[in-house]
């Protein structure tokens, strides 16, 4: 996978860059003597480039390695191989202690606002905790004011500082989580399905909040989701993942209006049609079978077991993202071809 994500270059240096990122989790057996019997290949050779103020959307079904990718990017997991660079400095292989100063720059927003806040701490303690961990960030005297400012920034009343998380709704809790992530003024926010646990109406509010914060603070987002329409709304670029690999990537219109990889096409064709009159007037691709196990992924192209175009070549050769490019956008398929699956016509 040599082609790099982020072709729509803004002319600036990327704030976060990952090259050939691999994360394999060993599966161990045995009681006294542990031996490794295999590896879960959660993330297998992912490249990405994220520019300041831009949003990279990552989509894919559950189990495709999206969340592992998020954990790698924020430094919660150490990569098996490959590099992660933050503003040009390598952070992928740092020890926990040397990683500390860099933690301020990349923060994570969680999926479930009900488990991501400690139920025994007040909102003030939760949002103020980053300052206790990094005392050099804000002098002790200014912390209370800073916490109030953060709450105000995410649209919560600063008076709620002494409340407990359970006194808030899901959307408000997610705002608290965002305020905590913003406390140290990070440059990159990795959002791991930040709205999928919320009601649709609340999803819109949180998405708008994230966009406003991006404009105000110049944040770069890695936005992970399985909801394609949400990603389309917020992302400048989209990467589609399948079984630990990026299969296609490009700008929003390139992916949504001109998908070239069979998997992307199948994924897009599963999005419901909002207009009841047009229902049934769009091509639908129903994939056969299940996602193969990441412990023993198929040889060659990982999608070949469910692909209607698969040939012998797909089993022998691993398609790179450049293979299906042909002057449009990176697609990891030997038989990449545009197919309209999003527009229903009567």
């Amino acid at each position: 996978m040599n082609a790099e994500l982020g072709q729509a270059d803004t002319g600036t240096d990327p704030v976060l860059e990952a090259k050939d990122l691999v994360k394999h989790f060993p599966i161990q057996r045995g009681i006294v003597v542990k031996r490794t019997v295999g590896h879960v290949q959660a993330v297998d050779g992912v490249d990405l480039k994220l520019h300041p103020g831009r949003t990279l959307g990552v989509v894919g079904e559950s189990g495709c390695g999206k969340s592992t990718l998020a954990k790698l990017l924020v430094g919660l997991e150490t990569p098996t191989s490959g590099s992660i660079k933050l503003e040009g400095r390598e952070i992928g292989n740092l020890s926990a202690r040397r990683m500390r100063p860099f933690r301020r720059d990349v923060q994570l927003v969680f999926q479930d606002p009900y488990t991501s806040l400690n139920p025994r701490l007040t909102v003030g303690d939760i949002v103020g905790e980053p300052f206790e961990i990094h005392p050099e960030a804000v002098p002790k005297r200014g912390r209370a004011g800073e916490v109030k400012e953060l709450l105000d920034m995410v649209g919560l009343s600063p008076d709620h500082i002494n409340r407990y998380p359970h006194q808030f709704s899901g959307g408000q809790r997610q705002r608290i989580g965002i305020a905590r992530a913003l406390a140290l003024r990070p440059k990159v926010l990795v959002c791991d399905e930040p709205v999928s646990a919320l009601d649709v109406s609340i999803q819109g509010q949180v998405i708008n909040l994230l966009q406003r914060l991006q404009d105000e603070l110049g944040l770069a987002y890695v936005f992970i989701a399985h909801d394609l329409s949400v990603v389309r709304h917020i992302a400048d670029e989209v990467a589609v993942m399948y079984l630990g690999k990026v299969v296609e990537r490009g700008t929003g219109p390139e992916i949504y209006d001109h998908p070239r990889h069979p998997y992307t096409q199948a994924l897009l064709s599963a999005v419901p049609v909002p207009d009841p009159d047009l229902r049934g007037h769009r091509e639908e691709i129903v994939l056969q079978g299940d996602v193969p196990s990441p412990i023993d992924p198929p040889s060659g192209c990982r999608f070949r077991t469910r692909c209607w175009k698969a040939t012998d070549r797909c089993a022998e050769e691993v398609p790179s993202l450049a293979v299906g490019d042909r002057g449009t956008h990176p697609t990891a398929c030997f038989y990449a071809e545009e197919r309209d699956v999003t527009h229903a016509v009567k």
């Binding site: 990683m99 488990t115 025994r120 905790e129 009343s157 407990y164």
Partner: protein, 306 residues
């Protein structure tokens, strides 16, 4: 965006698990009675002079074994014991070693159990294996047998000069065989909590292991532990008595309820049942109060039972 904030009045009560539990327990009559009994016992331990003006060490041989025929009045409201000491004073002054022993054992056991449990659960790996196997070993040795073995080592070498020296040996023995339950509860709660999102969020912010363990995990682990504490105190008091009856717990001339029980059994058959019945009654009442309190506390702290 302030219109999106919670429309909750600022006067709303700060509901938390503990205050809810307190509110539930306050309404139960059995808890109120148990609390009153415990307060009485603690008061006896802390201020014995409030309950008796006699010195338990001032004994007159000619007044030995006076039955409490006067019923709570007269010179010796509960009669006198085999050596002619005022029995009410002996009973009241015997409360302090009993309660001090129970409390020191429970505090030490909880601290040891919490620390070992949280380290085992959080770090896992070989540390967990070592602690868990050690725990298994202590669990399979019956507490009484273990305590007998340990206390045999101290036998005859214990002075009874001060409270600390009186209770030190049984306290060490009982703690050694009492920490496992708390360790197990804490380890389980730690395993449950350590992969929750808010712990991962703290890690992501760069929090140290110690901060995560004691600020984020411990407050959650302490709930199941608290629920078993009162019941365990009751158990410790009973075991202390058993050790005293066997002659290896608190050593006479120091007194505890167990020592009194032990002495009382010698005379109960000869018509001096009160020497046996009073310490036994007090013991049963106290253990019962601790058990009732513990039971109610466990119910109140378990959200599923509400």
């Amino acid at each position: 965006m302030s219109e999106l904030t919670a429309p909750v009045p600022t006067t709303e009560r700060q509901a938390s698990l503990w205050s809810d539990a307190f509110r539930t327990m306050r309404r139960r009559p059995d808890v109120i009675i148990a609390t009153l009994v415990l307060l009485l016992v603690f008061a006896m331990a802390a201020f014995p002079r409030l309950f008796t003006d006699k010195d338990p060490t001032q004994c007159l041989g000619r007044e030995a074994r006076l039955r409490p025929d006067t019923w709570f009045t007269g010179d010796h409201p509960l009669g006198t014991d085999a050596f002619g000491c005022d029995f009410a004073a002996t009973l009241v002054h015997g409360t302090r070693p009993t309660i001090a022993l129970a409390l020191s054992v429970i505090v030490a056991s909880v601290v040891i159990g919490l620390v070992l449990g949280i380290y085992a659960g959080y770090y896992g790996g070989w540390l967990d294996s070592v602690i868990s196997r050690a725990l298994d070993v202590f669990v399979v040795i019956p507490m009484l047998m273990g305590a007998i073995l340990i206390l045999s080592l101290f036998r005859g070498r214990v002075s009874t000069e001060s409270l600390v020296e009186t209770i030190a040996a049984p306290a060490i023995a009982l703690t050694l065989f009492g920490w496992m339950e708390f360790c197990r509860y804490t380890r389980a709660a730690t395993l449950e909590t350590k992969n929750l999102d808010y712990v991962i969020a703290a890690k992501c912010l760069g929090a140290s292991d110690r901060r995560i363990m004691f600020k984020h995990i411990l407050p959650n682990a302490i709930v199941p532990v608290t629920a078993v504490v009162p019941t365990t105190i009751g158990g410790i008091i009973v075991t202390e008595s058993a050790l005293a009856v066997l002659g290896i717990g608190v050593q006479p001339p120091a007194t505890s309820w167990g020592v009194l029980l032990s002495d009382g059994t010698e005379w109960a058959g000869g018509g001096y049942v009160y020497l046996f019945a009073w310490p036994l009654g007090l013991l049963i009442l106290t253990v019962f109060a601790f058990a009732t309190f513990g039971d109610a506390l466990r119910d109140a702290l378990d959200p599923k039972l509400r």
